[in-house]
């Protein structure tokens, strides 16, 4: 919570969002935060679901019904998309912590990789769910 001295307030801050060209590594970085916040909300959905499960069949069918509605499914779809991206990009972060993957080309490739993996894995996961639900009914 450092107060910025008066003299410094007129100096430019870095990084300068307005002048940097958007780059895939910047997108991955901010998406890691956005998806992290989305997963915070996803955890709260999990808590609501567990609470309803403990509360009884009426509460459970209300929560399960809301999640199975079109807006509910859209939210769950975004939560799993966030999960796959955060998971992949999180592995990227852990690799950096171990000292790997800092070369520009590697960082670019893994940023693209995390995004493409998230899209593909999410579609695959939901295809799996639709198949499983159809087979059960």
């Amino acid at each position: 919570m450092a107060e910025i001295p008066r003299l410094d307030q007129t100096r430019p801050l870095s990084p300068h969002m307005q002048i940097w060209r958007w780059h895939v590594t910047m997108a991955a970085s901010i998406l890691h935060r956005v998806t992290g916040v989305a997963l915070w909300a996803g955890l709260l959905i999990l808590v609501a679901w567990l609470y309803a499960l403990a509360a009884g069949p009426v509460a459970f069918s209300a929560v399960a019904g809301a999640l199975a509605s079109l807006p509910g499914l859209a939210i769950l779809f975004m939560v799993t998309l966030s999960l796959f991206f955060h998971l992949a990009n999180g592995i990227r972060h852990l690799a950096w912590d171990l000292g790997f993957g800092f070369q520009l080309k590697t960082a670019d490739a893994t940023a693209w990789g995390a995004g493409l993996f998230a899209l593909a894995a999410n579609l695959g996961f939901w295809a799996w769910i639709v198949t499983a639900v159809r087979a059960a009914s």
């Binding site: 916040v37 999990l46 567990l50 499960l53 069918s61 998971l87 852990l94 499983a132």
Partner: protein, 130 residues
């Protein structure tokens, strides 16, 4: 340092509080824990899709699935709370808003995690499986 500084100003110039490493390590250790739980989470999610009340309760009443659910809640909320804390510290400048959001983040994470763990235990103990 000049004598023309207040004690507070001098204290602020002394650098970090030396507690950052705990946050850093906690964030990463919980990340690895969630990473290890991820295959079970995805497998369970797909298996439970379309299940009814009794089916889901039977699943959660099993000791292994109940234990993994509790581990996911603890690791997940710990990790989420650490992450959102950094985001608040980075983007929220107003002192009151910043403290309020940091406290809210910690309280909601703790309350939601404890509530969910109690719900899991209630299903497990109510089922007669253990």
């Amino acid at each position: 340092m000049s004598d023309l500084v207040t004690p507070l100003r001098r204290a602020r110039g002394l650098g970090s509080a030396k507690h950052g490493v705990g946050h850093f390590i906690g964030q990463r250790v919980s990340a690895v824990a969630i990473l290890l739980l991820a295959p079970w989470v995805l497998w369970s999610g797909a298996r439970l899709a379309g299940s009814d009340f009794d089916g889901v309760r039977r699943w959660l009443a099993q000791p292994l699935d109940a234990a993994l659910t509790i581990l996911l809640l603890l690791a997940g909320f710990y990790h989420a709370q650490l992450g959102v804390r950094v985001i608040v510290e980075d983007y929220v400048d107003g002192r009151i808003a910043r403290v309020a959001l940091l406290v809210l983040n910690a309280f909601v994470a703790a309350a939601a995690a404890v509530l969910a763990v109690v719900c899991v235990l209630s299903v497990v103990l109510g089922s007669g499986a253990v």
